[in-house]
């Protein structure tokens, strides 16, 4: 935090440069079947109050019993964030009143969280590496949901979400720009998805962020911060920070002072505003929950979970670069979603150095053709109409010279829209590359005969042969083998 201000990150105000200081609290819903302290389902949606047990509804006499899998998920996440796992942590009651919190308190962890300090390494698109400290991770309950618009005088409360396990992941104030904050959340989301500890679905609110923003002149002490609550998309996180930093700079430059407060981001207007109800100073009166014993983790359990962690994005990227000789850019794109990386490796047809297909060619097809086509149709790679096996066959057909790269794109398109075995498609529709020298010679001879002027051209300027190659390819319907055509032309023209 006391590191010197990075010049490129400064924002220019009317009176000079400003540094933005950002810390995040990310709430990630734990991937589990049942809730943190009850046996009710965590399933999204459903009729009101159908995924609710008497524990979640806080009926008298009900006692919480912790879900072992939620504990394991928190530990896995801590390990994935290179963080310290605390062998003993404590659940506390955070007391406040709101209609969607029937207990009158949220069970959370205050002084003794399950996971302590860790670190996330964020690679920025410009090649810079930002190390973001993790302060802590703790387990807590989600609240229910209130609906205010359905009834003129009453609010509706649905407790389906109440009691679902959340991980609150708190970063250190190590971020210095909206771009860094966005990249941090994207990376964190990716790590959680690789670990399988949170599905990262921001649209459903399964991953959301509170953002602490303050500004200062470089070298000065930290300014007063404002907290922007519950931002649920990476794009909005960027917009909220941009706007909030600008707002704070303007206030200070106009001679005002920043008041510490909670603000909301309004996506429609792209701005943050003070929450209307001025909350009274928070006084949560935390105390250890007498219904729950301290959470003790044996070293054996932690070691076992560690031994079974999946390969995480950083390690996968390094391996792709090392084993497949991919560029950092290609590797980054391929590991950015777990499913993309899986598709790519299935396409290679083997892991490690024993792969069968050319990694560079495979990477190009996944990153350009496949990802481009998926984007255009707003489809997820898991729903790709061209399977890794089908695309693999197309690559094999290119590799053994059966079809040209250009025809391969046509075959890809046919498989995308109609499905089927690429080999059969190529066979039945006569898309095979013509390598039959006799047939090609005929084409070459005809075209050379038609264009004596261009022939003269090509003799003085060998590059002009490209024009002939194009003509022959066209005449063959794209099926001629370009290399063979090139060779024949050189012979025929005599260069």
């Amino acid at each position: 935090m006391d590191a010197p201000a990075r010049k490129s990150k400064l924002i220019r105000g009317a009176t000079g440069d400003w540094e933005v200081i950002i810390g995040m609290e990310v709430h990630a819903q734990v991937a589990s079947r049942a809730k943190l302290f009850s046996g009710a389902s965590t399933e999204f949606g459903g009729e009101a109050n159908t995924h609710v047990s008497l524990v979640d509804a806080a009926m008298p006499g009900m006692l919480p019993v912790i879900n072992a899998e939620c504990v394991r998920q928190a530990v896995r996440t801590g390990l994935g964030l290179n963080a310290k796992i605390n062998p003993r942590s404590v659940f506390d009651r955070k007391n406040y009143f709101y209609p969607d919190l029937p207990q009158g308190y949220q069970i959370s962890q205050y002084k003794s969280p399950i996971v302590g300090e860790g670190e996330v390494i964020v690679d920025m698109p410009d090649g810079e590496t930002v190390r973001v400290g993790i302060e802590r991770l703790h387990l807590e309950q989600d609240a229910g949901k209130s609906l205010h618009e359905q009834n003129p005088t009453m609010s509706l409360v649905d407790l389906n979400r109440a009691g679902v396990a959340l991980m609150e992941i708190v970063s250190k104030p190590d971020l210095r720009s909206a771009e860094e904050a966005k990249a941090f959340v994207a990376k964190l989301r990716n790590v959680l998805r690789y670990l399988g500890t949170c599905d990262g679905d921001m649209e459903k609110g399964n991953l959301r962020a509170d953002i602490n923003v303050s500004v200062r002149r470089p070298g000065e002490p930290l300014g007063t911060r404002c907290e922007i609550k519950n931002v649920n998309s990476i794009r909005f996180i960027g917009q909220a920070i941009e706007h909030e930093a600008r707002r704070q700079i303007e206030v200070i430059e106009d001679g005002g002072a920043i008041e510490q407060e909670t603000r909301l981001f309004d996506p429609a207007k792209g701005e943050t505003r003070s929450m209307r109800t001025k909350e009274e100073a928070h006084d949560y009166r935390y105390f250890p929950d007498p219904d729950l014993l301290p959470l003790e983790l044996s070293p054996a359990l932690v070691a076992e979970l560690k031994a079974h962690l999946p390969e995480l994005p950083d390690a996968k990227k390094a391996r792709f670069m090392r084993d497949y000789a991919l560029t950092a850019y290609d590797a980054d794109v391929l590991v950015a979603e777990r499913e993309t990386a899986e598709y790519f490796e299935t396409l290679l047809g083997g892991s490690g150095t024993a792969q069968r297909r050319d990694p560079k060619l495979a990477a190009n097809w996944v990153i350009n053709e496949l990802a481009g086509r998926l984007n255009r149709e707003g489809k997820d790679i898991t729903a790709a109409p061209v399977s890794a096996a089908q695309l693999g066959t197309i690559l094999d057909l290119i590799g053994d010279g059966t079809i040209s790269g250009k025809i391969a794109k046509d075959v890809f398109e046919i498989v995308w829209t109609e499905g089927g075995d690429p080999r059969v498609i190529v066979e039945q529709r006569g898309l095979k590359q013509v390598t039959d020298v006799a047939a090609l010679e005929k084409l070459v001879a005809a075209i050379v005969a038609q264009h004596p002027d261009k022939v003269a051209d090509a003799r003085t300027n060998p590059k002009a042969i490209g024009w002939f190659v194009g003509q022959v390819m066209k005449a063959s319907g794209g099926k001629a083998n370009p290399q063979a055509v090139n060779d024949l032309l050189k012979q025929k023209i005599g260069i």
């Binding site: 046996g39 109050n49 995924h51 609710v52 019993v65 912790i66 409360v157 209307r276 301290p294 959470l295």
Partner: protein
Amino acid sequence: MSVDAETVRRVAHLARIAIAEEEVENLRGELNAILAFVEQLSEVKVEGVEPMTSVTPMAMKMREDEVTEGGDPDAIIANAPAHAHHFFLVPKVVE
């Protein structure tokens, strides 16, 4: 540690308990008596003694990650003063 009248009012408000102004003084006395009673514990030397969380040494019981409850919204709202379509109805709260 001694509680003043303002603290009594604040604690009552935080607990959402309505108290009449004439009750404040009486409650202040009661709270201070309780605190004084508990204060006696500070006379005990506890340095190096681990806090006791349970009378018999035991580990926290855990449940497996299985859905065993829910699916009965009628039971959940059975005692609600007001409800509609299986939602609880509460006085309007707008943030």
